[in-house]
């Protein structure tokens, strides 16, 4: 299967490309709105800052293409900042609009929660606790690298949660769409299996 990976201009796409190759996918990098809207399988990776990421998507006219893809429930995978950019806005870059298909805002972790210190960024392996109706996501541990988070699973989606001082969204899913706060491409066998399930489901669409 061929997977189009959106080239957001931020550097390390290599991990995502390597992980997709390991599950047997062929990969292509793209910045073409038509490809992003219509390709069978599309990945929005995400490393970097919210404002810079949105600026890049806007420059390439990709914002509307991604929104159309999500509204059409086409096979799609968003990771980390990719998930956050689907939201309305982020405390990371106030005043910059996100893609807006998730009606929620992205918040920053506070350093202190009820007196207990948590490290920011959250760097490392944390639990994935799926809702009973999740079908792509399973229980396990995955690798996170984030200072910002979504507080709850938006209406119309299911998914999984985790905890880092506060409860936060670990991932969202809806049909062939998967949006992870953690990095499946860096999450060992757990991530490998999840990517595989997403690919299989998307390929069947």
């Amino acid at each position: 299967m061929r997977v189009a990976v959106i080239d957001t201009g931020t550097a390390n796409l290599a991990s995502m490309l390597a992980a997709l190759r390991r599950i047997g996918a062929e990969t292509e990098l793209t910045r073409e709105p038509e490809v992003v809207r219509d390709a069978p399988l599309v990945v929005l990776p995400g490393v970097g800052a919210f404002g810079a990421g949105m600026a890049r998507l806007n420059e390439c006219n990709l914002t509307e293409a991604i929104a159309a893809r999500v509204r059409g429930e086409r096979p799609f995978l968003a990771v980390c900042l990719g998930l956050q950019m689907l939201c309305l806005e982020s405390e990371e870059t106030p005043g910059v609009a996100g893609i807006g298909v998730l009606a929620t805002k992205v918040r920053r972790f506070a350093d202190l929660h009820e007196g207990a210190r948590v490290t920011v960024p959250q760097l490392g392996w944390n639990e994935i606790v799926p809702r009973p109706d999740a079908t792509l996501l399973s229980h396990g541990y995955a690798y996170y690298a984030n200072s910002y988070y979504l507080a709850s699973i938006p209406e119309g989606w299911t998914g999984a949660e985790t905890e880092h001082g506060v409860r936060l969204v670990a991932a969202l899913e809806r049909g062939p769409m998967l949006a992870c706060q953690f990095h499946p491409e860096l999450s060992g066998p757990f991530g490998h299996d999840l990517l595989h399930r997403w690919l299989a489901r998307g390929a069947a669409c």
Partner: protein
């Protein structure tokens, strides 16, 4: 809850893993990609590759090494050694690193950390901090421990985190390669001073040392020679940590 990470560290020179004591007397310890894959299979949470080669030729090899490791590795990869400019970091990230560590260059020019964090994000910007004990505290050392700076390590850690370092790999120059345990006082002082994760490095001989490091504030523990020499495995160490009540991914 975030689990404690166990991170094998591969010092690489000319495309081979080497291991030294106090940053010198290097000996061969295998192929980096094979080593990294084996450690992932044992349950490693992340891999650090430090390019310790001193030549331009060695540097070019390092990029190729990162590429080879990335192809087989399904867990995070941090790469350090010779990162002096944003472009050096970009080269390593393009080759497959997930995080880039900088050491001497950041001490000589702290604004490098701001630039790395602005360009790639703080989750990608790692400070490798080498420090040695003094009569009344901890001093930053650079150039692989050859040069003392007179800078207070705690103050430098704090400044680096403010500038955008999202993680600190703290190596005790007194303990590195000695197998006498991590410097837990140094770990406590630095983790107390910063809100970013601190990785303990230098001196581990067994799981007990790792337990001490975590209780002193470390978010992760680095190990090299005890793994390379085959004395123990990542899996055994993590099971011992778990038995001591430390949350790990098993």
């Amino acid at each position: 809850m975030l689990t404690t990470r166990l991170i094998p560290c591969l010092d690489v020179d000319g495309g081979r893993v080497v291991k030294g004591v106090k940053f010198s007397s290097l000996r061969d310890a295998g192929d980096p990609a094979e080593r990294a894959a084996a450690y992932e299979a044992q349950g490693a949470d992340e891999i650090v590759v430090l390019d310790v080669s001193a030549t331009t030729e060695g540097r070019a090899n390092a990029t190729e090494t990162v590429r080879r490791v990335r192809d087989v590795l399904g867990i995070p990869l941090t790469v350090g050694g010779g990162v002096r400019r944003v472009e050096d970091a970009r080269r390593l990230l393009d080759a497959g690193a997930d995080k880039v560590a900088t050491n001497t260059a950041a001490v000589l020019e702290p604004a490098l950390l701001d630039r790395l964090a602005t360009t790639f994000g703080c989750q990608c910007t790692v400070l490798a901090l080498d420090a040695a004990r003094t009569a009344n505290g901890f001093e930053v050392v650079i150039r692989s421990g050859k040069e003392r700076t007179g800078r207070d390590a705690v103050a430098w850690a704090r400044e680096a985190a403010e500038r955008g370092a999202g993680e600190i790999v703290l190596t005790s120059w007194d303990r590195d390669g000695t197998r006498s345990g991590y410097d837990t006082e140094m770990l406590a002082a630095i983790s107390e001073a910063v809100g970013v994760p601190v990785v303990a490095s230098g001196g581990a001989a067994h799981a007990g040392h790792m337990v001490d490091a975590v209780r002193s504030g470390a978010s992760a523990v680095l190990a090299a020679s005890i793994l390379h020499d085959g004395e123990t495995t990542v899996g055994d160490l993590k099971r011992a940590l778990s038995a001591a009540g430390i949350s790990v991914r098993l």
